[in-house]
């Protein structure tokens, strides 16, 4: 079984985000970038399927400028077999990303596509579901457990009330939640090996997808800042403040 994993290059999750002074966007100049944490979990899950003998090949795809090859190499160092970069300097919207990925799926014919449930920059949580719809494939989103057996995949999902388990026909799309697995660290020998693994570069034109804008970003502003309040010295003082000042108890 072939597994395709889509990954995204995003701002490192430890970096404090700042809005540009002209309010056009956030400032990403000279900021540390990394593999989106949910995508890392997706790569790890695919590699584990390969180690368990369920998957035969793990292909990683990323869409972005040449720099995103770094994140593809990271995924290859974690154990993926080969990479595909779809090169564009634009930041395509989720629907366009899903259309590009749908073309890759048509070419590669994986039985399972694994993606992170959301990227920590745009926080959209859309691409996997859109890909499922475009390909008419079933989906298991926000997965905390994935089991492949007898031509099906059982996915346990983190939902508002607790956990829900679905069974999906293959091919299917799975999006990962935080507790699906704990990604490994790439070892130095594997980082070296990853440099020699194949990485194809394609363009949106090669795939016949037009980068259409469905939205326009008008401005980006910092959120309302919350001011730190006061220190109370005892539980008694806290209770007094809650009763008489804040009046919430």
């Amino acid at each position: 079984m072939k597994v395709l994993v889509a990954v995204k290059r995003v701002i490192d999750y430890n970096v404090k985000v700042r809005v540009k002074s002209d309010n056009t966007d956030v400032d990403l100049a000279n900021v540390k970038m990394a593999l989106n944490p949910f995508c890392e979990i997706a790569v790890e899950e695919a590699v584990r399927l390969k180690e368990a003998g369920t998957a035969s090949e793990v292909v990683v795809v990323s869409i972005g400028p040449k720099a995103c090859q770094e994140q593809i190499r990271t995924a290859l160092a974690l154990g993926a077999d080969r990479g595909i970069q779809i090169e564009t300097d634009e930041m395509p919207e989720s629907l366009t990303v899903a259309k590009l990925l749908a073309k890759v799926v048509e070419e590669e014919k994986p039985e399972l596509v694994v993606l992170g449930k959301q990227s920590i920059d745009s926080d959209n949580n859309q691409t996997g579901q859109m890909l499922g719809a475009l390909l008419d494939m079933p989906q298991g989103t926000f997965a905390s457990e994935v089991k492949v057996e007898a031509g099906k995949v059982n996915v346990t999902r983190e939902v508002d009330g607790g956990l829900q388990t679905l069974t999906l026909n293959l091919p299917a799309v799975v999006t990962t939640d935080l507790r699906l697995n704990e990604p490994r660290y790439a070892s130095l020998p594997n980082i070296m090996k990853a440099k020699k693994k194949p990485l194809d570069v394609k363009t949106p034109t090669d795939l016949g997808v037009e980068l259409k804008a469905h939205t326009r970003l008008l401005k980006v502003t910092p959120p309302a800042e919350r001011q730190a309040g006061i220190r109370v010295s005892s539980v008694d003082e806290l209770v007094d403040k809650l009763k008489n000042e804040a009046k919430v108890v």
Partner: protein
């Protein structure tokens, strides 16, 4: 053109998140229709018809929609959605699951998790875990939107008298099936709707220690939440997680106990009206957003607080 709002429900009751989505829809303006898709969901449809501001309730009652499977529901919603200017759902896990499929089938973008309506085509939404607010204009003929519940007041549950109309269309993709669920049952209020929330973090040490928070919560009529660290450590189940990727809450009073205050957690609770933080580490970042900070051992402070209320 009218607006279609997707009702959140469990086939027996209409969930509160629907009411916040109705308010967001009414700010857009226009005739408002509410879709109740499920199985044996007649009681939900009756409740939906009472909601203030709703003009019509559409009911798709079929086994194919019983478990809100995204494959089936997205086909139904996208088919109905062609006749609307906006298709709006609460940004719950079911809304997040279904709506992007609806958008893709309609060949339009989705605006996720909106927090403000500026006009019929311009909305605000948080990005980068709420560290920036984007104002986004939709260029599509149909706007597919999910709504962050805490950013909009709930519409009144009564006062409306909408007509109820059955939808005959049945879409069963046949590619997915429901196997089972583990749903937490609790007498406490729902996390996203509670007026008071008491949350515990890694400082709680283990799951058993959450009992002291539960006692405090019961005294306050509060819901109990947790930080990602506490959930990852296995202290409590995932549905209690408050944060960027968990639940977004904005109660009147939020009490953070043994929570350091990672950005991802703050993203889920910093809109709370009053924030209390109890932590023994006086450098904990949670104190930077708290109205009342108490540097103390939580195992002494929490029982004491409970006894004084």
């Amino acid at each position: 053109m009218a607006i279609l709002v997707i009702a959140e429900h469990d086939n027996s009751t209409l969930k509160g998140a629907t009411l916040n989505a109705v308010t967001a829809a009414s700010q857009v303006g226009g005739e408002l229709h509410l879709l109740v898709a499920g199985e044996g969901c007649g009681a939900v449809a009756e409740a939906a018809a009472q909601v203030a501001g709703v003009n019509k309730v559409l009911v798709a009652d079929n086994a194919a929609y019983a478990h809100q499977l995204a494959e089936n529901l997205s086909k139904l919603i996208s088919e109905l959605g062609r006749d609307y200017s906006h298709v709006i759902a609460p940004a719950t896990t079911s809304g997040k699951n279904v709506m992007p499929r609806v958008a893709a089938l309609l060949d339009v973008a989705q605006l996720s998790d909106i927090t403000a309506v500026e006009s019929a085509n311009t909305f605000q939404r948080p990005i980068y875990a709420g560290n920036a607010i984007a104002t986004v204009e939709s260029l599509d003929p149909i706007k597919v939107i999910t709504v962050r519940g805490t950013a909009f007041d709930a519409a009144a549950e009564t006062g409306g008298s909408a007509s109820v109309e059955a939808v005959a269309a049945v879409h069963d993709a046949g590619t997915s099936a429901f196997v089972g669920e583990e749903v937490a049952r609790s007498d406490r209020p729902e996390l996203t709707a509670a007026k008071v929330v008491v949350s515990g973090g890694r400082g709680m040490g283990n799951g058993e220690n959450f009992a002291i928070l539960e006692k405090l919560a019961d005294k306050l009529g509060a819901a109990v939440g947790a930080s990602r660290a506490a959930v990852d450590a296995g202290f409590v189940p995932n549905d209690m997680q408050v944060g960027q990727t968990g639940k977004i809450v904005a109660p009147e009073l939020y009490i953070a106990v043994g929570i350091s205050g990672a950005i991802q957690h703050l993203a889920g609770m910093k809109e709370s009206k009053v924030i209390v933080a109890i932590n023994k580490d006086e450098e904990a970042p949670i104190f930077q957003v708290a109205d009342y900070s108490l540097v103390a051992d939580l195992f002494e402070a929490v029982p004491e607080l409970e006894s004084r209320l």
